[in-house]
């Protein structure tokens, strides 16, 4: 059994051992001395024949004592740890943090039953050390290892089961790592394991779920449709028989006509309706059942971003074409003051915030018929095919820093460049007089891509309704960001980067504030797998084997080596004292 050393460099001190040996060899070598007769040393001669080793060992004994003491002290300085068997193992408890644990049966949720089991287990046979691991969509350990039930109960207050899923396998792996493959692992969940035969001798799986019927809203969306909002609500019947349910819809303070749905077993139906885009939140609710978190959703109005575009083209035909095309995208703002995009024919800067589109039409007499090289991964060229298109452009060369999105041979037709301030400078090499592009669907696609890209780069949220656990990306203005969660928790990000990804650990409406700009987004629990309680079960699978009673624990052994070394030094001193005549 090789000990683990905390300070292995201390082993350099072992070099003192050969030094000690050298000192002894030099100091204790036998010096020859002539005597008158050995008759007076006769006792020594006799002991040599009979028990000479006793006397001769006096030297080696002291030497070996010193050698051993030195080695032990060096080992003590190295801080050794031994893996020693201990009778009881620590316990790693994995808590299923998904919201299905909140399903209530007979007034008690699966989470409550699991807590009661834990308390009972602690009362009967408390483990030496316990560590809690929360298994949601991500896994993480709760606090530090604790020893008493009071400490465990304190940590269990953080077990609120808001997650849309439970990564139990990842949690088991994390528990095994934290427990150094020696700890017992207890999984507390509401469903059976994937495989009923658990081969891990240190894993015990306990489920406290109950098979329940449940109506749930499994999908909900609210998207912009012109001047209206288009809403979609999908309701599922997770039971083994057909049932009816009343869907209540409220827009702001106004109650809308509800719907009564009759759903077969395991069937889902969608409600699709339009709402005027009045900025009111939409609330949809089902009657309360075993699991309430999936019985209601709140949908905020969709984010409608429009780009303020200034068309500064000198050519009237070009300007008219640009205006028509921009209007067709539906993404152009009504106002053009303080523009966010300037379309012009010169290569001049257009303000601190605006992107510029330089439209090169003069001298663009080369009519390209293809083949065109289209970078479909570029935001400008997404969905652009250019089949049979004639694109007339000037014979330009790619300017330094420009990233072409569309090329004809080595001639860039549409390219983009980003300057030091983060502004984009686009170049459209296009002469409509000699082209057919403006008469194809690719033309409005190009402008829609342009405005969509620009709007995506505007500060604020990109979407207002997300599923529980999804990541919400916020485009920041560089100012500090403050996020207020549905439970009132406020999180501040004083130094935000260009983008900020927010976690959504709970359902409800979040508020994001950046300077004067305030946005809201709603998080709803829309997870069909977790709303389906027909797969929930109770029972326990696997058991900690008898071999689990013996485990190896890293135990510091510095004191053992230190004490042995000091003990040997005491013996050494005693022998030295006795050898010199006992203090005569």
């Amino acid at each position: 059994m090789i000990p683990f050393l905390t300070y292995p460099l201390a082993l350099i001190a072992l070099a003192s051992l050969p030094a000690l040996a050298a000192i002894y060899i030099l100091r204790n070598r036998f010096r020859r001395r002539m005597v008158s007769s050995l008759v007076l040393w006769h006792f020594q001669v006799q002991s040599k024949a009979g028990g000479a080793k006793v006397h001769r060992l006096q030297l080696p004994l002291l030497f070996f004592l010193e050698l051993l003491a030195l080695a032990l002290l060096v080992m003590a300085a190295a801080g050794p740890h031994w893996k020693l068997p201990q009778s009881a193992r620590p316990l790693m408890i994995i808590l299923d943090d998904s919201f299905s644990m909140r399903a209530v049966s007979d007034g008690v949720s699966a989470q409550g039953r699991a807590q009661a089991f834990l308390e009972k287990m602690y009362r009967q046979s408390p483990p030496p050390v316990t560590r809690l691991i929360l298994a949601g969509t991500e896994t993480h350990a709760l606090g530090s290892p604790v020893k008493s039930w009071a400490q465990v109960a304190e940590l269990l207050r953080q077990w609120r089961c808001p997650a849309p899923g439970a990564e139990l396998d990842a949690a088991i792996t994390l528990a095994a790592e934290l427990g150094k493959q020696q700890a017992n692992i207890l999984v507390l969940t509401d469903h059976r394991p994937a495989d009923d035969r658990i081969t891990n001798p240190r894993l015990e799986w306990r489920a406290f779920g109950t098979r329940l019927d449940n109506f749930a809203i499994v999908n909900a969306s609210r998207t912009a449709l012109g001047d209206q909002d288009r809403c979609l609500i999908e309701v599922a019947n997770f039971s083994d028989h057909a049932r009816s349910v009343e869907v209540k819809v409220r827009a702001g303070t106004n109650a809308l006509p509800g719907s009564s749905l009759t759903l077969a077993a395991q069937e889902s139906q969608r409600l699709v309706f339009n709402l005027p885009a009045n900025g009111q939140p939409l609330r949809v609710a089902l009657p309360g059942d075993a699991l309430t978190v999936d019985d209601q959703v709140e949908l905020l109005p969709p984010v409608r971003r429009r780009v303020r575009v200034q068309v500064a083209l000198a050519d009237a035909d070009l300007a008219a074409l640009a205006d028509r095309t921009l209007a067709a995208t539906g993404l152009r703002a009504a106002l053009s003051d303080n523009p966010e995009l300037v379309i012009h024919e010169t290569d001049t800067a257009a303000g601190s915030n605006a992107w510029s589109l330089r439209w090169v039409s003069a001298g663009a007499t080369n009519a390209f018929t293809g083949p065109f090289v289209v970078d479909t991964s570029h935001p400008l060229a997404a969905g652009v095919a250019l089949p049979g298109v004639i694109w007339a452009g000037a014979s330009l060369t790619n300017a330094p820093g420009d990233v072409p999105a569309i090329l004809a041979g080595n001639t860039p037709l549409f390219s983009a460049r980003e300057d030091a301030l983060g502004r984009r400078h686009l170049t459209l090499n296009f002469n409509p007089a000699l082209s057919t592009l403006q008469n194809t669907p690719d033309w409005p696609i190009l402008f829609w891509n342009l405005l969509s890209w620009r709007s995506a780069e505007l500060p604020g949220l990109r979407e207002s309704n997300v599923r529980l656990g999804a990541e919400v990306v916020v485009k920041t203005t560089g100012e500090p960001v403050t996020v207020t969660e549905p439970d009132g928790t406020v999180r501040s990000f004083p130094k935000a980067a260009d983008e900020l990804a927010l976690e959504t650990p709970q359902t409800g409406v979040y508020q994001v504030t950046m300077g004067a700009l305030t946005n809201h987004f709603s998080v709803n629990a829309l997870t069909a797998e977790k709303s389906d309680l027909t797969g929930c079960a109770s029972g326990h699978w696997g058991a900690w084997g008898e071999a689990a009673d013996q485990r190896l624990v890293e135990t510091p052994a510095t004191w053992v080596f230190g004490l042995l070394g000091l003990g040997l030094l005491v013996v050494h001193l005693f022998l030295l004292y006795a050898g010199k005549g006992g203090g005569r």
């Binding site: 008158s36 006397h55 001769r56």
Partner: protein, 288 residues
């Protein structure tokens, strides 16, 4: 012979001028000499009368008594003898331990005793143990004239005695100079030396290194005579054991001396001059 030893002989000779060998009464025997013997002899000193017995020298009949009493009476005169010193030197290599003053001390002590004997009008014989006990050439002359005083034998005095014992004179004073560091029974050696002697003195001459064990540490001790080596870790326990062994050895020799009427004294080679009063204390020397 080692010039250093010859120098030591001269030094001992000079040192011995101040001393005379103390002759015990029981040693008043020997060849006709200048000292009164304990028996009747042919000196001019009248001692006693006794009845004539056949075989008596007719010249010593006291004719005056015969004329007055008609009895044959002879006059007895005191015998005049010359006492003798047999000096037995341990010639083993341990007496010439490198790095010590032991060899010089042996020579110095031998010369001192010989000179003191001359001062006491004793004759002397100097025996050196080795491959048997051999007399030193010119040992009857002053010590500075002695020759072949070489302390390099690998045999102990006891072994040398077994090979060739010295021809020691009866009723002589015998002095053994040795470090006594050999295994065996001191009593046997002492009995052989004491047999027929007027007196036996045993002088244990040790180097300071022999008395004081080495410092703590690893020592490979080598026997100066046999070359045998032993690796020893010296600590306080071993040092104490060494001191105990030395004391035990000295006690064995002391006991042996007591049993046979000999006298034992121990001298430190490095402190020889300061140790001479010990020789007076055992009544071997007396100021001249």
């Amino acid at each position: 012979m080692d010039p250093a030893l010859r120098t030591a002989l001269r030094d001992g000779e000079q040192l011995g001028v101040r001393y005379a060998l103390q002759i015990p009464q029981v040693a008043a025997g020997g060849w006709t000499g200048s000292r009164s013997g304990r028996r009747s002899g042919s000196s001019i000193d009248f001692q006693d009368y006794r009845e004539y017995q056949p075989g008596d020298d007719l010249r010593f009949i006291d004719w005056g008594i015969y004329s007055r009493s008609d009895r044959l009476v002879v006059k007895l005169f005191r015998e005049e003898v010359t006492p003798h010193l047999d000096l037995i030197l341990d010639g083993s290599a341990s007496m010439n331990l490198p790095g010590t003053a032991k060899a010089g001390a042996v020579a110095q002590l031998a010369a001192l005793l010989a000179t003191a004997a001359a001062n006491a009008q004793c004759t002397q014989a100097v025996w050196l143990t080795g491959e048997g006990c051999q007399r030193l050439p010119n040992d009857t002359l002053p010590p500075s004239a002695w020759d072949k005083l070489e302390l390099d034998s690998r045999r102990t005095p006891e072994q040398a005695y077994d090979i060739l014992p010295p021809r020691l004179r009866r009723l002589g004073v015998r002095v053994l100079v040795s470090d006594l560091l050999w295994p065996g029974n001191p009593a046997a050696t002492l009995r052989r030396l004491r047999d027929g002697a007027a007196a036996l003195f045993v002088i244990q001459l040790l180097a300071r290194e022999d008395v004081t064990p080495p410092e703590h540490g690893n020592i490979r001790v080598a026997d100066s005579e046999t070359g045998e080596e032993s690796e020893i870790y010296i600590d306080s326990a071993v040092a104490k054991q060494y001191a105990d062994n030395l004391a035990q050895l000295q006690q064995a020799w002391d006991d042996g001396c007591r049993q046979c009427g000999a006298r034992l004294t121990t001298l430190i080679a490095e402190d020889l001059a300061a140790s001479l009063p010990a020789l007076q204390a055992v009544q071997l020397l007396t100021p001249a």
